[in-house]
């Protein structure tokens, strides 16, 4: 479904990023460059600021200092353009409890203007028997799968996924790995955090360790 190939010239760059939580310094002077077809894996102990970094990259949180650039342009000045190239799955699943799984994805597709088929995306994520179940009846793993199905609705060169493996079973983990591989093969980028060892060592992997 992510067959669209992305321009090889895309580039996500961070310069001198600094973030605080309250008075505590999470990271400072953080810089990296991520090119098309690369995976950025953010490591770090609990509370090291992984989620904060991902939210900063997505433009949800403003850094204390520094700047995030997409294709050389500061992201915070080009929010609308950046939203077009970004698929973000956050720490919270964003699956509405009062909507069925399918309705959740249909609303998301309308919001982002994606062209993918919501039912197909959910079947791919192994939720074919839950399509018409309300969000609050799902298990944590199923909810995560439903959230990740959003990635399949709209091809976007940049994926930012917070803890994609949380609550997933063995099949789910393999499925996420497969999605990441497809995205990389299409020339896209993936930024992800994970406590678990990621089985993606065959891919061009950039590691970033926070709080080391």
């Amino acid at each position: 479904m992510t067959s669209a190939a992305f321009a090889a010239s895309h580039c996500l760059r961070a310069e001198g990023l600094e973030s605080l939580r309250g008075e505590v310094m999470l990271f400072e002077n953080l810089a990296f460059t991520l090119n098309a077809g690369q995976v950025l894996q953010v490591d770090g102990h609990n509370g090291a600021g992984k989620t904060t970094l991902l939210r900063t990259l997505a433009g949800l949180t403003l850094p204390e200092a520094g700047e995030v650039y997409w294709d050389g342009e500061p992201v915070r000045r080009n929010r609308a353009a950046f939203a077009e190239v970004l698929n973000y799955v956050g720490h919270q699943h964003g699956v509405k409890a009062g909507l069925t799984v399918l309705e959740n994805l249909q609303v998301y597709r309308r919001l982002t203007g994606g062209s993918g088929d919501p039912a197909q995306a959910l079947i791919r994520m192994g939720l074919e028997r839950q399509l018409d179940n309300l969000g609050h009846t799902l298990s944590a793993g199923q909810r995560r799968r439903a959230a990740l199905a959003r990635l399949l609705l709209r091809p976007a060169p940049l994926w930012i996924i917070d803890e994609p493996y949380t609550a997933l079973d063995v099949n789910g983990v393999a499925l996420v790995d497969e999605l990441v591989r497809e995205q990389v093969r299409a020339g896209g980028m993936v930024v992800l955090t994970s406590h678990q060892r990621v089985e993606l060592s065959d891919l061009p992997l950039v590691r970033l360790r926070l709080g080391a």
């Binding site: 699956v95 009062g98 249909q106």
Partner: protein, 227 residues
């Protein structure tokens, strides 16, 4: 950007909120029940003398409508904030102000419109003169969208606070005063057979102004709350 995609996004979010309200209709109907119950308390607490009630009626109905709206305001963004759907709205390629307007409109359809439609019942309880009914309906029709729109700014500012309810009331109530003044005075004037066109036009202007500007402020407040 792609303008043809804005309308589907707007309608999609509006339908989503209406569907969610319908599925939780027991909860969605609470402001309406509050509206009717509080207005019923006044004859019990003061006296059932028709003259006194008639004098109080415009103010009582409007203050009650205002409090009922306020009661429902805290929930406008809270659900989306707690389950993470708000992040998806903020990161969607559509203008956030447009999505805020869809949420305001959904809130009005679920709260303001039912209040407007039930108001004649309360007017009957409170002995409002027959001449004042059209004015009451029109002031509520123009005034309740303003309440939803201004309230959404407060709801957006307080959504990240655990107990934002009281703060929300303190922020928003002063801003509701102009609506209250014009609306209650229009209903009162209509009851005395006086013309009310001036107040109604002012309320309509407030509605247009609030629906145009409040979504922009709400969008900015949502971004701050998520930071």
């Amino acid at each position: 950007m792609n303008e043809p995609r804005m309308l589907p996004a707007f309608i999609g979010l509006l339908r989503r909120d209406l569907l969610l309200a319908y599925r939780a209709r027991g909860e969605a109907i609470n402001p309406l029940v509050f509206f009717v119950m509080v207005a019923c308390l006044f004859p019990l607490a003061t006296s059932a003398a028709p003259n006194l009630l008639r004098t109080l009626a415009p103010g009582v109905i409007w203050v009650t409508a205002l409090l009922a709206t306020l009661l429902s305001m805290d929930q406008l963004f809270r659900g989306d904030y707690e389950d993470g759907a708000l992040e998806q709205l903020v990161l969607s390629p559509q203008p956030l102000a447009l999505l805020a307007l869809a949420k305001i409109l959904a809130h009005w359809l679920v709260t303001g419109l039912p209040l407007t439609l039930t108001s004649p019942l309360l007017a009957m309880f409170l002995q409002l003169p027959d001449d004042a009914y059209p004015a009451l309906l029109l002031t509520l029709l123009f005034g309740t969208p303003v309440l939803s729109a201004i309230g959404s700014i407060g709801a957006a500012l307080t959504v990240s606070l655990r107990r934002g309810g009281i703060l929300l009331s303190l922020l928003i109530l002063p801003l509701y005063i102009p609506v209250l003044i014009f609306a209650a005075s229009a209903v009162d004037a209509a009851g005395h057979g006086l013309p009310v066109t001036g107040q109604l036009l002012l309320l309509a202007a407030l509605a247009v102004g609030a629906l145009t500007l409040a979504p922009l402020a709400t969008a900015a407040a949502l971004r701050i709350s998520l930071d």
